[in-house]
Subunit: 411 residues, 2 copies
Amino acid sequence: MDPKEVEIPGNSDPNQPGGRISHLALDIGGSLIKMVYFSTNYDVDDEVGRSGKKSLGVSSGNRDHPVLKGRLHFVKFQTSKINDCLEFIKTKQLHLGGYQHLEAPPIDKIIIKATGGGAHKYADLFKEKLGISLDKEDEMNCLVGGVNFLLKAVHQEAFTYMDGQKEFVQIDHNDLYPYLLVNIGSGVSMLKVDGDGKFERVSGTNVGGGTFWGLGRLLTNCKSFDELLELSHRGNNRVIDMLVGDIYGGMDYSKVGLSSTAIASSFGKAISDNKELEDYRPEDLARSLLRMISNNIGQISYLNALRFGLKRIFFGGFFIQGHTYAMDTISVAVHFWSKGEAKAMFSRHEGFLGALGAFRSYDKHGPDDSLVHQSMRPFPFTSFLAGDKICSPPNGELNETESVDCSVYAS
Amino acid sequence: MDPKEVEIPGNSDPNQPGGRISHLALDIGGSLIKMVYFSTNYDVDDEVGRSGKKSLGVSSGNRDHPVLKGRLHFVKFQTSKINDCLEFIKTKQLHLGGYQHLEAPPIDKIIIKATGGGAHKYADLFKEKLGISLDKEDEMNCLVGGVNFLLKAVHQEAFTYMDGQKEFVQIDHNDLYPYLLVNIGSGVSMLKVDGDGKFERVSGTNVGGGTFWGLGRLLTNCKSFDELLELSHRGNNRVIDMLVGDIYGGMDYSKVGLSSTAIASSFGKAISDNKELEDYRPEDLARSLLRMISNNIGQISYLNALRFGLKRIFFGGFFIQGHTYAMDTISVAVHFWSKGEAKAMFSRHEGFLGALGAFRSYDKHGPDDSLVHQSMRPFPFTSFLAGDKICSPPNGELNETESVDCSVYAS
């Protein structure tokens, strides 16, 4: 644990023993709602049961700053089940974060940071159901803010993944920029990042996580994104994909460097068989789909990295989600197309980049900000430190709550 | 009609009245077999009934060369139904082309030009069933040969397609190279073409025509590629695709230049509905799939054109096949990603590039060639002229025969 410095303004009282301070930010995408919130004490029912330990309130740190110990929570919901999300917020009173023991502003003055298209689409719903306003933060800004923050603040955040091997990469902060950030949500955005807050959306593709999930649901009847990802682990894409060897009678097409095992045409075997959809195993369908989409994203990403002379490509977003097979396929695609020149890199908290960026944006408003903004900042939260215990975001069922030990300095 | 010059070697007798001269080349891909053959007289049962006229044998042309008038026939089969193809060849005796009235070589000396992966895979089958050998021509060589030939020899071969408008492009032969050739077969190959026989396969994608057909079959139960293409004409992709406006509550994401009607995630709506596959109309599924794949190919093609500084991109292969919606989507994608800098171009005979290239390769062997090669060249066929009557390849059922009036000079 090596806590980092943050400032705490005067309108909260972090020294109040047992005071629960929560803070909430949302990234409402087309498929998933990603939520990040911080609490200084554990919910005994939830977290203690899971972690077997309890870490309460505030302890003093170095540099004469009190340290807020607590947990950063990562939660996701399907956007189609937004009412579950609203209910979760209401039950946990997350929208009142930091005010349970303080003088809270009137409910209609409370503003929650939110990003993603849904911050626009569902603003009225949040007002109607919870009485609160969403303060819309630009999606790309949040994304870049989230990843820059993670790469700089968190030890062993970035890694490469090849042949089942995860390798952490120490990033020199002075040599971080420029890089390509590929965020794989429902769709895919590709951003050239030149510095803090300096970026441009240079490309993207509509073949993304929503395509995987949407097509996957139609093909396999899977009920959730995670179930589909899980299924693909056990599948064999060669049953459905047409390989170079299938066309060339088992041979390579060596003249142009295509091995017999390269995929010539995703789902290409489904044309020549007399099989119907129900004759294929769902796991094989899921795997072909995953390979098709991963390959494609890897290729388009590399072509864009090449275009701007970027040697590092960071992949984030829910599609990857610590999912080794997706990472492996993307790594292979980037390696293949770049002839080893470029490397796919991943971030341990890739699924929550936008939400983290929105979370951090509470802290970005200067003295000119409105009173409403000020009153919504029980404390700012410029950085947190993730301990070794933190692994990738959850692979299990949706709506699972994952949390992370962290400490912040309070001034 | 403006016939062009070719040479005819001495081992055929084009002056023999009523002599049927056929000549056959094959492009055996993963999904389709494309066949091209030439005949100097019409099959009364087939062609006269179709064209209402008959043009037999040889008439004299200018420059003291006799002119061979005849037809160039384009036929396709599903590769999975290769026995239909073998039967077709046998019944029409195409493999004996040019020898019915001449002294033919022994059957086991007959060699047919073939390209595509299937030329390797099915070589034994051709030997076994027809007794003939396939002379394997490199797939990419044939492709490039076919398109270079068409672009130079055929009037109004190249065109652009935007907003339902086909516009023919006059290509200056001195300004043809370099260009990007994108061949959309089962998979997609992207070739940088620098001249006659000078090219490099620079990229490709496994999301191609086989993906469209394979996935489309699984999703819609369509029985043929053409049926699926036809279906997509009548569909509405917005039923299944997640648009930017769907995420942003009907708004544009104008900051990064994404309009509300842009597709954010292909098939993305299939995740949030409670609908199952059977609740979607097959035509909507087909259209979403077509847009996804066309868009993707257009984008990757443009990125490769950009990489090598190529302003012209020619799209060929069976996926396009004069299919206006695919051409339109690819054109829009290239226009969008290049901000109007690059243009998608199409060729009227795009589906048979490889087969045409193989056909032309009969004529490419110099005096050092073996006797077997020589004996298989009843006449060379360096160019043909397509009359105004020739439109795009057929859009109807597979196995339909289409033919083209053409004339060649015989020396």
